[in-house]
């Protein structure tokens, strides 16, 4: 696949439940290697958009091209192959509660690859360590983990098959500021070292300012604007202005301004 071609391309997407239209004529392109943040009010359909892309919900109309293939019309088998190249971190982790963390990570490896037990155990341990968990966390059950560790364990499972694209649904929701900031840095490190593309839904302005290369605003049933943060926050729309210029928005800006500027990512920087 051509490196310049967008890794996700959505054209004219339409989603509706009954008579309620969630998305109408929605267009979005995600570039290879970038971290894109999707923001929008509660109920604006961010999670629905994510579910459409990863194939958990079938859109009413429009086309979604994922890794160069049109996924809305793909056969089951080809679709499965594409899905294996996507890692998803669900909002509440969605870890299998009857399995340990290491077993959670092993599930997709066992299902999709004929590897021996030692190799699987080793790969699972690598993923657990990559997600920033201590080795002993692998033997624990999800109910024994704290909120932050559940997110990390879910991230380890999302990374199990070495995906090209990582989808994160509110990864820092419910974490304390220190934990959230550590998680942001972890995502940044993983993107840089594993060459991931990250599609991120968030309400956390700190996350947007800290790690996102581009930000897409989902409002009025479509993507209103998608660009780097300084362009987006000047965008002339009442909701966007309120979102970024509100009391919380300014606090996050100040915090970032106080830190030295981050090096732009080579693939997506200006």
């Amino acid at each position: 696949m051509n490196a310049a071609e967008p890794i996700i391309r959505i054209r004219g997407l339409r989603n509706q439940f009954g008579t309620q239209v969630v998305h109408e004529n929605l267009d979005l392109e995600v570039r290879r290697g970038e971290i894109i943040g999707v923001v929008g009010g509660s109920g604006s359909g961010k999670s629905v958009l994510l579910r459409s892309i990863i194939g958990l919900g079938r859109p009413a109309a429009g086309s979604i091209t994922l890794l160069g293939e049109e996924v809305t019309t793909l056969s089951e088998a080809r679709r499965g192959a594409i899905e294996r190249r996507c890692g998803v971190l669900f909002q509440n982790g969605a870890l299998f509660s009857s399995l340990t963390v290491a077993e959670n990570v092993s599930v997709p490896l066992i299902e999709h690859h004929a590897l021996d037990a030692a190799m699987i155990e080793r790969l699972a341990a690598i993923k657990v360590a990559l997600a920033g968990l201590p080795p002993e966390a692998g033997a624990k059950y999800p109910s024994e983990l704290s909120g932050g560790m559940v997110k990390r364990a879910a991230l380890a499972r999302a990374l199990a098959l070495d995906p090209d694209i990582l989808f994160l649904d509110e990864p820092t929701a419910g974490l304390d500021p220190i934990g959230a900031s550590a998680f942001d840095q972890l995502i940044l490190t993983l993107r840089d070292s594993l060459g991931l593309t990250v599609f991120l839904i968030t309400h956390d302005l700190d996350t947007l300012y800290a790690i996102c290369d581009r930000v897409a605003v989902l409002a009025q049933k479509r993507i209103l604007v998608v660009d780097s943060l300084d362009v987006v926050e000047r965008y002339d729309d009442a909701w966007v202005q309120q979102y970024f210029q509100g009391p919380r928005g300014r606090a996050a800006q100040r915090a970032v301004a106080a830190q030295p500027a981050r090096q732009p990512h080579p693939a997506t920087g200006p």
Partner: protein, 370 residues
């Protein structure tokens, strides 16, 4: 897409050239070939990665394996691949831990028996404690009509009582028929088939009516109590009840216990009647004992004390089943699996306790000549 990953020995084993994609897809094939390559190559070989295609964490882990964990021996890596190797090497170093060996021998099984006994003992203590808690809560709220949860209690009476009527009636009818058949077969040899009436009457009034109902209720309602309270516990709803200044025993347990103590006698009565009707049907169809004769004989030979012996056990069984169901619900922790484990345990314990108490009651009533 480039070729599958491979490794080739150059010269007489001082250099190995790796090429192609070292990714998860090819990991199984690579892992199978690596030990052979490693054995054939010399000790101090260098790795040449100029022709390396894509690399992911699985490939990096194998590559590190090939280089005995020393990434400095790999030359010609691109920066991206180098950072991948670094990350994986770091992750593997963190993983350096030993697994505790599992003992599956004699010692293990002895320990298992000990654990099971200890669990049994702890369950018993917990049940006795819980029964005490429920009784004291019952006594306290009995004096305060404001605290009675009438709606909730009636809801559970409907769920556990009325909705269970058809299945309990059907079950008892069928078992009544079976008992009558068995009695008829054995008693015919003595020319005493007519005693089948007493057999069905005694057994259903004293034992089977209440016992079959209790087993049905344990499986149907006791398990439901555990699952309801258990999933509330798992989602911290029970904690929420407590922080709102409410007592979970009052809110969750008392309505269920009281409801079951009302439902169970009703169900038992229906069970007794259905069993006797089942026996009567078999008598009429297979033994030439007409329904009139059946009823007359039942009247003459069976006194009402048999009914009371059976019925007296119903509220006791109801109390035990509901208490065990609720207690197991409170024992649930976190996971979905835990809800399943405790629901199973609730049904097993309830049926066990019911049969145990029934056996003790049988001895008790026999000694009293009832």
């Amino acid at each position: 897409m480039t070729a599958a990953g491979s490794a080739q020995i150059i010269g007489d084993g001082e250099r190995i050239v790796v090429s192609g994609d070292w990714i998860l897809e090819h990991a199984a094939a690579l892992a199978a070939r690596l030990p052979e390559i490693k054995r054939r190559a010399g000790h101090a070989f260098a790795l040449d990665a100029h022709a390396l295609g894509r690399l992911d964490t699985a490939g990096a882990s194998l590559l590190l394996d090939l280089a005995d964990g020393d990434s400095a021996r790999i030359s010609g890596l691109e920066p991206a691949a180098k950072s991948m190797l670094g990350v994986v090497a770091g992750a593997l170093a963190a993983h350096a831990r030993k697994k505790a060996p599992r003992d599956l021998g004699l010692l293990g099984s002895v320990a298992h028996v000990g654990e099971a006994l200890e669990t049994f003992w702890r369950n018993l203590i917990a049940l006795v404690g819980f029964v005490g808690v429920v009784l004291s809560a019952l006594a306290r709220s009995a004096l305060l009509p404001k605290r009675w949860r009438v709606t909730s209690t009636f809801f559970h009476i409907e769920q556990t009582g009325f909705n269970a009527l058809p299945i309990v009636a059907l079950l008892c009818f069928l078992v009544g028929a079976v008992v009558a058949f068995l009695g008829a077969t054995v008693l015919k040899e003595f020319g005493a088939s007519v005693y089948t009436v007493e057999l069905v009457g005694y057994s259903f009034l004293r034992e089977f009516g209440v016992l079959l109902t209790a087993i049905m209720v344990a499986g149907r309602s006791g398990s439901a109590f555990t699952a309801q309270i258990g999933s509330m516990k798992a989602r911290e709803e029970v904690d929420a009840i407590r922080t709102l200044g409410l007592d979970p025993i009052n809110v969750l347990v008392l309505p269920r216990v009281l409801a079951l103590m009302v439902s169970m006698p009703i169900l038992t009565l229906v069970g007794m009647l259905a069993g006797i009707v089942g026996g009567g049907a078999v008598c009429a169809l297979a033994l030439d004992i007409s329904p009139q004769m059946f009823i007359t004989r039942l009247h003459e030979t069976t006194t009402v004390r048999h009914f009371w012996v059976g019925m007296a056990k119903a509220p006791i069984f109801a109390f035990l089943i509901a208490s065990i169901g609720c207690l197991e619900g409170f024992k649930v922790s976190g996971s979905a699996e835990s809800v399943g484990t405790h629901t199973t345990s609730s049904v097993v314990q309830a049926i066990f306790v019911v049969i145990l108490v029934d056996a003790l009651a049988a001895i008790f009533f026999m000694e009293l000549n009832l």
